[in-house]
Subunit: 273 residues, 3 copies
């Protein structure tokens, strides 16, 4: 698959995500001259998706106390060293485009979705965290929280193809694990239970959909392809392919074979067996 090859050394492999972004940027710049300079500096002026992403995030997260150039170098270092990150930033982008009916261009996801921005910036903070640069990881975490209103602890582990929609108010704790192809809406909390140390946040398995305001507390497991209804409070394990809802949540249905994170079906009335 083309995404897999983005970082291969083979000259033949094309980075089609980046090629599409460039093409869309050219088209948008032509249609909306007011944005031409923004699109040039953010996309067209760069040689790779990695360079463009570093530039764009650095502009969003700079502050009077840390310059955008310094941040940009940090992001480029993380992207250069981590092939996993290079794959993830493409798969997350595709996930937005595939799952959000309001997103008609890959370019929109890249430029404007703050859930996407916060997730990629978290990936840098997690890279710092894993390399024992916890002070810098905390600094970056603090900037992400302040500028994008999404609070992902640098210690959390998050897979590929994750779609964070809207994103305002999301909180993901230090020992949380989010596997691949998960979708989550705004106000989701993956929180701890009590002032103990060690593993104390949830594990979200592949393909789960977390509805707006879903609050999941403690070291519990949310089984793959399950769906947590909006406004629900979950304090116990949830089996795979289940739909749960309520405060506290109870199971209202189970449909093996479905893929709620991809369907983005938030209205769970249709999920009953």
């Amino acid at each position: 698959e083309a995404v897999e090859n983005c970082c291969d050394e083979s000259e033949d492999e094309r980075d089609w995500v980046w090629l599409i972004l460039r093409e869309e940027a050219q088209q948008h710049a032509y249609n909306e001259p007011l944005l031409a300079s923004f699109l040039f500096s953010t996309i067209l002026n760069h040689k790779s998706l990695e360079a463009a992403l570093s530039f764009h995030l650095a502009n969003k997260l700079a502050s009077p106390t840390i310059s955008s150039t310094l941040l940009m170098e940090l992001f480029r270092d993380a992207l250069e060293e981590s092939k996993d990150f290079r794959l993830a930033c493409r798969r997350d982008l595709i996930a937005v485009k595939e799952r959000d009916p309001a997103c008609t261009f890959l370019l929109e996801a890249f430029l404007y979705f703050k859930g996407y921005h916060a997730l990629q910036a978290y990936r840098v903070s997690h890279w710092l965290w894993s390399h024992e640069r916890k002070a810098m990881a905390y600094f970056l975490h603090s900037q992400i929280t302040k500028e994008l209103h999404i609070d992902i602890h640098p210690g959390a582990k998050i897979g590929h193809g994750v779609f964070v929609d809207h994103g305002t108010g999301i909180v993901i704790g230090e020992t949380a694990i989010v596997e691949d192809d998960v979708s989550m809406l705004h106000h989701v909390t993956l929180g701890g239970s009590g002032k103990k140390y060690g593993d104390r946040h949830p594990i979200i398995h592949n393909g789960v959909l977390l509805g707006a305001g879903a609050t999941i507390l403690g070291r519990i497991e949310i089984g793959e392809h399950s769906q947590i209804g909006a406004c629900s409070l979950v304090l116990n394990d949830v089996p795979s392919f289940a739909t749960v809802v309520g405060v506290p949540a109870r199971i209202i249905g189970r449909k093996p074979g479905r893929n709620p994170a991809s369907e983005m079906q938030q209205d769970f009335r249709s999920s009953e067996t």
Copy 2:
């Protein structure tokens, strides 16, 4: 009514909203010298409410990639071309003052209420959207979401006299319709149901009150002058004058004749019949 006449060409008609704002600004500048320069540049230096609003919003939404002067011109264009917008920005202002007991001056609503700012900036993005400038509309939407933490899709339709209190975390989807004289608190979601295209977000009729954290999903209708309790999840139509609460919500009362959006009565215990 004076508001109606704000944009008439008759010289006799006075724009009393603007006159009050100027008078209050003078009084505040006299009482609090630290704010004098801010009040002069934001209010007293301008010839109309339109000019002041454009200046104020542009300062709030500028970024390293788009200058405040460019945004200010854009806002002035939208206000100049749309009489509907000129009426709405006054009626929304009056709605804040009339419905919020913590708001004692029209000036406070104008200068400080981010729900008011996000709503007016959304009106500009909707004007762009309606004129087939979707790229620019998305850009502006992204700035509003980043700077004001309120996520109103440019395609949504919102009436006049709407009061957005506090506002943090509000999400209003692409095909949502909000009629006149609605009040909503923070964390309200008017969300879609699933990855389908076309009409997929709620219709909120006249005079509805949406409590803090109310989450309304799918193409359902919330009848006029009904009240959605705080923290409620609504997945079905709600009749007019009803009060609903819970996750998922159920009807707990009905009182024809009342006007919850104006009363701002969030405690629904008293609304039972």
Copy 3:
């Protein structure tokens, strides 16, 4: 106790909170050179915790319409005039470190916790409010809400040793009272009930824990050392040492002698009697 003495004139008394902050800042600057200049300008360059806090908050809350230097002077004035504030800013800091297992240094709480920043900036706005400088208090409130996404009305009364975790989306109304040693998570609302004037927001007694998304409406009292479950909606008084949960909330347990705000035990399953 050392905290009590921070502002004594006795030369013998050491401000150990400030001494720890300085020591940690030196250590962090040594380990992470990228942060050295930030740590120098924010901590090491200052002669007191008051000076450092004023500088740090001013940088976070400045805007094109108000300079950071003007804000810094305002914060220093408030800290100089109010011994209560000087004690509170230390006790709140210690509360973060003691109650958050993800916080390993006092320095992290001081530099990075936006709940801490919003609470201290609110204390300045409340000082302005109490000195009849309401216009300036509203201005500052507006900046806190915009920059830190936490909306505490300047008129609210908040005690010492209060821990605001994560913080995004919190709303605390004009007549709310929060006593000492309370802990609250993100999305908490202490809201009014209706458009009446006078006392209309809750009273939260000592040592209460307010879970994520807890919404408490009206002039009700939450008894000391009680625990409000995440996502709960509370419309009635809650007795001391009780645990309540649900929409609307009901009492599910009572355990005299416990201290939920200190334990941060959000998972209330274990709290039943």
